[in-house]
Symmetry: C2
Amino acid sequence: MLKIGILGLGTVGSGVVKILEKNEENIKNKVGAKLKIEKILVNNLNKKRELNFAQGILTNDAAEIIDNPEIDIVVELIGGEYPAYDYIIKAIENGKNIVTANKLVIAKHGKVIFKKADENNVQVCYEGSVAGGLPIIRPLQNSLAANKIKKIYGILNGTTNYILTDMSKKNKEFADSLAQAQKFGFAEADPASDIEGADAAYKITILSLLAFERFVDVNSVYVEGITNIASEDIKLAAEMGYIIKLLAIAKNSDQGLDIRVHPAFVPQDHPLAMINGTYNCVYLHGDAVGQVMSTARGAGQMPTGSAVVSDIMQVSKDINFNQREVQRIDKFLDSQVVDINEIENSFYLRLEVYDQPGVMAHIAKIFGDNNVSLASVLQKQKDNPIVPLVFITHQVKEKDLNKSLKAIESLKDVVKINNIIRVENNI
Amino acid sequence: MLKIGILGLGTVGSGVVKILEKNEENIKNKVGAKLKIEKILVNNLNKKRELNFAQGILTNDAAEIIDNPEIDIVVELIGGEYPAYDYIIKAIENGKNIVTANKLVIAKHGKVIFKKADENNVQVCYEGSVAGGLPIIRPLQNSLAANKIKKIYGILNGTTNYILTDMSKKNKEFADSLAQAQKFGFAEADPASDIEGADAAYKITILSLLAFERFVDVNSVYVEGITNIASEDIKLAAEMGYIIKLLAIAKNSDQGLDIRVHPAFVPQDHPLAMINGTYNCVYLHGDAVGQVMSTARGAGQMPTGSAVVSDIMQVSKDINFNQREVQRIDKFLDSQVVDINEIENSFYLRLEVYDQPGVMAHIAKIFGDNNVSLASVLQKQKDNPIVPLVFITHQVKEKDLNKSLKAIESLKDVVKINNIIRVENNI
């Protein structure tokens, strides 16, 4: 029998307990040993819960799990940076194997955690940290290992994908769709980490770590959320054959790693454009395998629970048969993230200008002077002194685009620049 | 240093050699040891080849690999049942770890091979046997292990998917599209195993083995190929909102395993309908994870090479660090495949009838007498004494449908039954 201690009994923690109970027989067969939940850390011992536990299982003292000599595997599901990180380190030092779904801790502190695990001859598994139940961490470690991965595009945040899908299908503004996502439980009461892109940034940092075997400072990843996307942008994108998605992108280049999270125009006929609602998707390109795309529900009790319990089973089997999966993460190098200003992209620009002769000529001249060449221009007639003007540029470095935007912004004919969104034509 | 012997230097074998050379440094880093190709079995030592090898690498004597005490891993890529099976068994008995892409041998003889491997404390890896480079074997073994898999739908044969896509997009007949597939190298000179469905049947048997932990006799799997699909069927399917795909299906039920390969109507808006050309796709449903879909190129030198080399790396790492991945396949049970006659499906039927009063009434009465209820009927007016008649039934057992078809066939108003294709509305 192997004994498990779970830190945290929120959404995912409850899912893990349910799956361990529901598929108990199956799991025992696959692992070769019975798995027993020994202790679960909760904040409040007296809270009413959906699940029932025997006396003594629930505790509000983390030490009863981390320092418990009976416990073989510590499952960290409290989320956030601290105390989760400290618990993980302490548990490793105590010789526990770790299963976690904590993207923040792995993205920020992976290097220290993996080193510590190696020194203590234990495993750290984190399939649940990226894209819920979608198998992607282990496939990058094994089934795709022969490849030099060139690039990864991910839709890695279910909340924002739900909001963008809802805005797009129902012609709604961001705030309305966010409110609906919160009502349905697809967005937290404080949705900042999702809608501002941080959540996706942690996840793409983890995928990039495995795909390119490089550690990067997660704080150097460029992050832009979806709070500025207007219904008007989605409508214009559709007219031009695009759908707006929050993309997490990682590419390997001679200059370093190009890692970023931002909304992007995705061509309507690209498979990524078809990933809707709370689904997540990972689309990658390896030098041998070519393109691989996987999609599944990216969050929630059962999908993430599936990944966590699968990790628990793998570690349990290894313990039971006295094996250990070696990851050789000690061989990974540190790497810089390429400055976003040096990245080339095509851009969508939406402006409001006074409807006066010469305005287009002024703007076009500024673009020309800054080597920004235009792929398309859309000017809509309106019975209004202020008219919208939409451009899509060819490939241009961000810094060159920004230079021209600064000049354009100061033109007296220009009311405002409403939005700038990157266009990903070569996914 | 670990030494590899490769049996077979065809398409996939050459791809494996290329990847091992191209990504040598990368691979060494991940594995922790240099991998050296010690010997390669070929038919003809004097054949001109794209790749160059040092003196003594190529051999036409399998024993120089299988019985070679220097060799750690035997990579079987000759395909077919014999002598591949004998080589694998002998190599295992000699303590070699095995990597193979041989779906036929694993589907037919997996049970014996896995048992033999356990007895000899070696591993057998076969990620390359299903869906080329798409990670699916190991994900079923680990990242998805917590799930009770309920059903799997696969597009597992690139040749037939290419042909059906070409027929569909270009309004062509089967023979023309087959000829084009052969011209482009997407179909063999003898395409029987692909177009008649056997190839997909081996693959779904392997997926079913891992998903349901059941061994089945591959000969009891119902198999129907695409040779009878006419351009007319594809056109009618499109009119009714469907696309025709060769589906490989595996479902777990109380009656046993429902495993079959046959062309099927797939709703146009289902993700499987969008998998075109030589792409493969696995779509599965687990009780915890929900729906997961993965797609990648399903065959070819580099994609399959990617899976094979990834397996070689995994085994090499395990050997190097004195580990062994335990699969517990000894716990898998034998299972029956449910008789296709007992399976319920919706069906598309295309008939030719003499355009005479009463014919529809006669046919409808036969359906009614046999409890076959109709979902839709399509009758096209033509200036012709013989007219086509198309039905889609509601769910009905195959045996009940067949009883009515026998009666309908004998009606004097009925010229012929052109085609019967299963309709999969509930994927």
